[in-house]
């Protein structure tokens, strides 16, 4: 559905690239995570894919359309949920959705149903300007689904939302995936990526460092660990030990034999830990 080959982009049209030799391919129905810290180049790549930035160098096809040419019709099959809420504050939630529905040439979803889906039921006639930040974010998210997109760009879809609403948003993404929607998810939240993505790309300084499934990454880069909490001479101690290291294995056996065990959990490396391991940089 999306194919990017040797993409370069510079905001100042010089040799200082915000995207450098970026190449990847996303298959139909896949949820592809684009992960990296702020300023890594995630939004630059997404903006090129959505047509908000011009394609300077490289070859990009989205849904079969070559982005070197302008094809407004392609947006009938594309939905974009922006990180920053961008809705008409003077219009009500329903008016916002109905207006955008009119801009598409394809059958659109019922605005009331979409509001219900994102937990804004009963708020349809309230002006969007009176909404909280989270509500605006949900309205922006709902708007991105108005045209039943086949390719869905999601920029930090759960940022700033409370856990319950974030869980709802994640469920919606899963349900759209089940319908066959291809999603391009841009985030710096590795837990979301881990939960939702079929594959992830780590991007830093405009370059993709690796692309793989979260499972493969954990197998390849993650260490198998055990976290033990035990009582020694009346005090509680906590240690994280590797199950593949001989000295640690001996230590685990000794703790079990000698002390009272309070808790003991096996632990996988997180995507965040792997990201740091691969790129040498944190995600903030």
């Amino acid at each position: 559905m999306i194919k990017v080959e040797n993409l370069y982009h510079s905001y100042n049209n010089n040799e200082k690239f915000q995207a450098k030799n970026v190449s990847f391919e996303i298959k139909e129905g896949e949820v592809f995570g684009f992960l990296g810290p702020s300023g890594a180049g995630k939004s630059t790549v997404q903006n090129i894919l959505t047509g908000l930035l011009p394609l300077q160098k490289g070859k990009v096809t989205v849904d079969g359309y070559d982005l070197k040419q302008v094809h407004n019709k392609r947006f009938n099959r594309i939905g974009v949920s922006f990180e920053q809420s961008n809705i008409y504050s003077k219009l009500t939630a329903l008016e916002n959705l109905k207006y955008y529905a009119d801009l598409f040439d394809v059958p659109t979803r019922d605005p009331e149903e979409l509001l219900k889906l994102v937990g804004l039921e009963g708020k349809g006639n309230d002006r969007a300007g009176s909404f909280s930040k989270g509500m605006k974010h949900r309205l922006t998210f709902a708007r991105s689904m108005i045209n039943n997109p086949k390719i869905w760009f999601l920029d930090e879809p759960t940022t700033g939302l409370d856990p319950a609403i974030a869980a709802t948003i994640k469920d919606i993404i899963r349900s759209e995936k089940a319908k066959g929607t291809t999603s391009f998810l841009t985030t710096h939240n590795m837990y979301i990526a881990d939960e939702l993505c079929d594959r992830v790309a780590f991007i830093i300084d405009g370059e993709i460092k690796l692309i793989d499934t979260p499972k493969n990454l954990k197998q390849q880069y993650g260490e198998k660990l055990v976290e033990i909490e035990y009582v020694k001479e009346g005090e509680i101690y906590k240690e994280t030990l590797k199950t593949v290291d001989d000295s640690d294995k001996e230590k685990i056996a000794n703790i079990i034999k000698s002390y009272e065990i309070k808790t003991m959990h096996s632990k996988e490396a997180t995507l965040e830990e792997i990201f740091i391991q691969v790129t040498g940089r944190g995600l903030i």
Partner: protein
């Protein structure tokens, strides 16, 4: 359909915002000011205090002639309270200064007639005839108006003395001088050599109220159009909604044209508020609205082009202010007929103002109106095409 939906959305947003009401409020305030604070009669406030130093027979002959020929009519006598006053008179010819100091107060009654305008029959001036030159002078300085004395000597020759306040123009002083220095035959002979072009048959000039309308209509359509359309675009940029629009199948062209339609609607409403109550049935409304729409279209397109160069209205403000002041300059020429340099005629608001004035007076030459409408239409299309091209690159960046 998309454009209509965008237009309805834009109208909803505009009607719930501040800018939409600015222009309408300005129109309502201006209408009230024009109707209740501006005297419709041109020079209607011109008041003269006259003293005729001549026999009653000669006086009656002079005034009766004007009255029978429809140039004047008597109205009720006017009573004036004369207060103590001191002033100096300087003779412009000799330079001699005479001081006056009146310490008494008294009431005087003046016979009053009004001078009527030739074409409209409306009042042009009010003249109060006093019993003495001294009273005429006191009133003149008390109220800041012109006084004049007309004398007939024993040979039957008239002599005139004017008492001006000092703020009158040289042109006015010279006119008074010429009027009484040369014989009527000499003046007539001179006038015969003048080429007089009639700009319209049976032209009725605008009164003071009507004269305000072309300025408002052009300024509202042009300058407010530029300002308001820029405000709308920058509001959208600020809210980020342009990015959301850019990822729909609708075109930037659609977005820009919709904005222009909103400004056109605002300008039509605000202009109608002013034009209909003041001009009534005088204009050719079909041509008026046609010209109003094409000028608004052209100036709004200019506003769009300017806004395509900036991210925020604060960054655009310097250029916006300069352009608005520049485009407003022809308004000075409109009010001050002596200020009409050739370079000013190249400003688009200059022909807009002249054509609009003709249209509102109900005397617009259709071919001329259509010609200028086409010029504004083509200019608007070119400006819009340039704005569209620039916005494709900058609207979402």
């Amino acid at each position: 359909m998309k454009m209509f939906s965008s237009y309805l959305k834009e109208m909803k947003i505009a009607s719930r915002g501040f800018y939409f009401y600015i222009e309408i409020l300005v129109a309502v305030i201006l209408l009230l000011v024009v109707l209740f604070a501006i005297n419709p009669e041109p020079d209607g406030k011109q008041v003269e205090y006259l003293y005729y130093d001549m026999s009653d027979e000669v006086f009656d002959y002079l005034v009766d002639k004007d009255i029978t020929e429809g140039r004047a009519r008597w109205i009720d006598d006017t009573e004036f309270e004369l207060n103590p006053i001191a002033f100096e008179l300087k003779n412009e010819d000799t330079g001699k200064v005479v001081s006056y100091d009146f310490k008494d107060s008294k009431t005087v009654t003046a016979r009053t007639f009004v001078g009527l305008r030739e074409k409209t029959g409306k009042i042009g001036k009010t003249a109060h005839i006093l019993d003495s030159e001294e009273d005429a002078l006191r009133l003149s300085f008390q109220n800041g108006n012109v006084a004049a004395t007309t004398t007939v000597n024993e040979e039957g020759d008239f002599s005139y003395r004017y008492f001006l306040q000092g703020y009158e123009t040289d042109r006015y002083s010279n006119m008074l001088y010429v009027l009484h220095t040369y014989s009527q035959d000499e003046i007539d002979a001179q006038m015969d050599t003048q080429v007089i072009r009639e700009t319209g048959a049976n032209t009725v000039p605008m009164d003071n109220q009507e004269a305000v309308v072309p300025i408002f209509v052009v300024i509202a359509g042009a300058l407010m159009g530029i300002f308001i359309i820029m405000a709308y675009v920058f509001l959208d940029k600020d809210e980020g909604v342009i990015k959301a629009f850019a990822v729909t199948p609708s075109s930037i062209w659609n977005y820009l044209v919709t904005k222009i339609f909103v400004v056109m609607t605002t300008v039509i409403i605000s202009s109608t508020i002013i034009v209909i109550p003041i001009m009534k049935l005088r204009p050719n409304y079909l041509l008026f609205y046609l010209f109003l729409l094409v000028t608004t279209f052209a100036f709004s397109s200019l506003g769009l082009l300017i806004s395509s160069f900036f991210d925020t209205i604060s960054k655009a403000f310097g250029v916006l202010y300069t352009i608005m002041i520049t485009l407003a300059l022809p308004a000075f020429s409109y009010y001050i007929s002596s200020f009409d340099p050739v370079w000013l005629r190249f400003f688009p608001t200059y022909p807009a103002l002249q054509v609009m004035k003709d249209l509102l007076m109900g005397q617009g030459d259709i071919a001329n109106v259509i010609l200028y409408s086409l010029v504004f239409l083509v200019s608007g299309i070119l400006l819009l095409a340039m704005a569209n091209s620039r916005f494709k690159k900058t609207l979402t960046v």
